[in-house]
Symmetry: C2
Subunit: 198 residues, 2 copies
């Protein structure tokens, strides 16, 4: 299903046998992390010919208010769908950060939002704090698409999947009147990390 | 978090050590089965003091158009989150039925919609075909809440969770302007099976 296109820095796959990506997206109830996880999984499966599993595990801790959504993406079959040690994580609240940042694999990528999260320097991860909330509010004016901005930053920081694949899923899932706002949020997230890595 | 209330036929729990419920909700992309699965899992966790895991497993088969969402609900910890043999399943399209009805545990409950699915009598399950689509269109006039009607029927047919718990999740998740429609759909599903079992 993938259209042929010239590879560039942001879209090039490093190898046909990719490292399995274990991802935790976390935040509070209204921030749309489950939606972001579903979009990410669908993009990987429908437009990247990969396998994906997307899970919400609700134990006693989920009654506290932290929401967590797991995604595993792989070019091999996925037998165990729960993420124990993510190599990628995003935390959109301090509570989610306090709860999940310690489970990250050493050297893993940990994306946070400066508006919500104060980092703990003792965490053994590549911590990337971004002003996603502030930028979304300034450039789009609606906090509802913070989750899509986060997705843009996450895929911009990794070689996980192509931005176009996420855009295709947005076109399928998002009501027409909100599509432009979601596209802008995706691009905003991508731009924030492109500026960083240049 | 549960408020005390008199037990009645629809809400009474049979035992404090419940049978683990393994559920597959399936249909096509736009029918909201993933949303229904998330609502069911959240209702069980937030308002019934149960554990739940909700999973989307996307393999090569998911590119065909059938959507599948798994939910496991238990009063014990859940170690393996994927559903192999459900004891409850709902199929909202023929394709989903053809793909998933055979995996049901012998004697399990299999809910279908007569508008979309023609049953195979060879399936070893308690098959319950309902006119959910037709009833939703007649009484509510919008097919978008078929998934919530299905949820109403499913919890009405089992002692899974209380309808009020699903209603509470709807109040948290559904935008105000759509809440009444969703409440009506839940009640419609419950009424359809209450009539049946009387």
């Amino acid at each position: 299903m993938r259209k042929p296109k010239k590879p560039n820095k942001q879209t090039q796959k490093t190898s046909s046998t990719m490292q399995t990506q274990r991802i935790i997206l976390s935040g509070s109830g209204g921030q749309g992390v489950i939606t972001a996880a579903i979009i990410l999984a669908e993009a990987a499966v429908l437009y990247e010919d990969l396998n994906a599993v997307q899970t919400q595990s609700y134990g006693p801790e989920s009654r506290g208010g932290a929401t967590r959504a797991d995604v595993i993406i792989s070019d091999a079959p996925i037998y165990y769908p729960k993420v124990e040690q993510p190599n990628l994580a995003a935390c959109l609240t301090q509570e989610a950060y306090n709860r999940y940042s310690r489970s990250i694999r050493p050297g893993g990528l940990l994306l946070t939002d400066r508006h919500y999260v104060r980092q703990d320097p003792r965490i053994d991860a590549h911590q990337v704090p971004l002003d996603m909330h502030e930028t979304v509010m300034k450039e789009i004016g609606n906090p509802i698409v913070l989750n899509i901005c986060m997705l843009g930053a996450l895929i911009g920081l990794t070689v996980l999947i192509r931005p176009e694949s996420v855009a295709h899923v947005l076109e399928r899932r998002v009501p027409a009147e909100f599509l432009d706002m979601n596209r802008m949020a995706l691009q905003t997230g991508l731009d924030m990390v492109t500026k960083m890595t240049r």
